[in-house]
Symmetry: C2
Subunit: 294 residues, 2 copies
């Protein structure tokens, strides 16, 4: 039998995931509104399932630090998932990673067409900013923009493309991983905490938590691409290797990659314990990320 | 000899254009900062020249209505040009309009590669939001997002793609034009006026001005694609026809298109005269748009 805390942890995650799915459905433009093909393409990729880690992190940070207005945090939380999905759609394009499968379904440009996929990504990108601006805080808009611009996510994507087929050092891998995946996960925690009104010292500490789980998340992604279960992942395994991608285990070997990911998760949990929360959902989320198999 | 008002009008436009070019250069990430290839691609398309109509409209609206803080309006004005450029880069992609020339130079994907062009467009898109959020007004962020989302610019682009090769009514052309080009021009005027603190009645009136010059701008674009000078335009003429694009003169004929554009410019000037400004730069901008040959 599963230990009680682990079971209630999974229940928390599952409830939040469902809640986020309902919100995403509400915030996305309806399929029957013109331009309907574009709206269908947006909804197709966003509502294809997914763990909703980023919105859940924002909701958790906001509520853990005393925030209590769902109308304020909900659009902000969902904006993070829209950004994540836009980046996947553009990343999957033939001129980028050229992937056919994502979350067990055809990628956006395979289901629709390349032009529609470019526009659907653009449309999710701008909808994210429309949603995050609803919180009436230009600061959180700037947080998101900084996290996903050329010093953050896009810089990581470009570095990732350029690193293909090269011999990469661990420093280069860390550069890519902290930006390509890490920056948005870090920002997810930060915007929740900022909107809850935390002081700067708390913000610094929870930022450290976000950085550690963000890096662990991508290391585990690399590991799963090597030894994961294609069925569970919903995408081809081995594609990093095929595309000669720069990966963490590719440089450190599998054992150390696993050990480093575990170490980061432990450090993140230790940070979260400093807050002495009644329900430490941060620790549970960190454990979930550390143990995920899809 | 040119009448004095026309000459001083051109001087105003030229000075503002230079001012905007200096600002854009300052706000764009430097070429030598990593990821340098991406930064070069962003700068290549933004600094390729251009009339800078959208930033100039925002600056003009802000100052005409009493705004006096350049630090507030400058990043906002430049954000509009970045959005415009991002939309051109993605629009020129092989999976969209497949254009090789833009402003007399190779399009972004021809100069770099398709993957870089997708990311450079994305990077300008997010930099626009980073810049506009500096004004510390979530309202203007929402204005921009609404103008360029699927109810605005992106909806117009999708409709434009879908209208290719079909028999289109004037209503359909108006739907496309008011969104694809009109919405961002309208928003340019509005954000300037909002940041200057105008009342709702003034905002309504200047919005009408923005709508009229926005539609006139696109009608003239269609006309120039038929009878413009390729050298001056810096792009191939006749591409709308080749791509079986939905154009205004294609439905109304050239004479009526010219007449309607002139009528819209006259109406815009009439609106601007209601404000009894000492220097009516709005009227001059409208005239410039009405007379442009590139």
């Amino acid at each position: 039998m599963m230990p009680e805390t682990a079971a209630s942890g999974l229940e928390y995650l599952e409830n939040r995931r469902r809640e986020v799915d309902v919100l995403l459905d509400r915030y996305l433009p309806p399929e029957d509104r013109y331009p309907d093909r574009l709206h269908r393409a947006m909804r197709y990729s966003v509502l294809a399932g997914g763990k909703r880690i980023r919105p859940i992190l924002a909701l958790t940070a906001y509520e853990s630090f005393g925030g209590s207005d769902p109308e304020l945090i909900n659009p902000v939380a969902c904006s993070l998932e829209l950004v994540h999905t836009y980046s996947l759609i553009h990343d999957d394009l033939p001129c980028m990673d050229d992937d056919d499968l994502r979350r067990g379904r055809l990628t956006n440009h395979k289901m629709f067409d390349e032009g529609t996929a470019v526009l659907a990504g653009d449309a999710l990108h701008v909808l994210a900013f429309e949603l995050i601006a609803r919180a009436d805080s230009a600061r959180v808009v700037r947080e998101l923009a900084a996290a996903i611009g050329t010093s953050g996510m896009l810089g990581g994507q470009m570095a990732d493309v350029e690193a293909e087929g090269r011999d990469n050092s661990l420093d280069q891998i860390l550069f890519i991983h902290t930006r390509k995946t890490g920056a948005l996960i870090r920002a997810s925690v930060r915007v929740g905490a900022i909107l809850a009104g935390v002081d700067e010292a708390t913000l610094e500490r929870i930022t450290g938590y976000g950085e550690k789980i963000g890096l662990a998340f991508q290391i585990i992604d690399d590991i799963l691409d090597i030894e994961g279960d294609q069925e569970k992942l919903g995408k081809k395994v081995g594609s990093d290797c095929k595309n000669q991608k720069a990966t963490y285990p590719g440089v450190t070997g599998m054992d150390r990659a696993r050990r480093d990911a575990d170490g980061l998760i432990d450090e993140a949990i230790a940070i979260s314990e400093q807050f002495a929360l009644k329900d430490n959902h941060f620790a549970m989320l960190a454990r979930f990320i550390g143990q995920r198999d899809s």
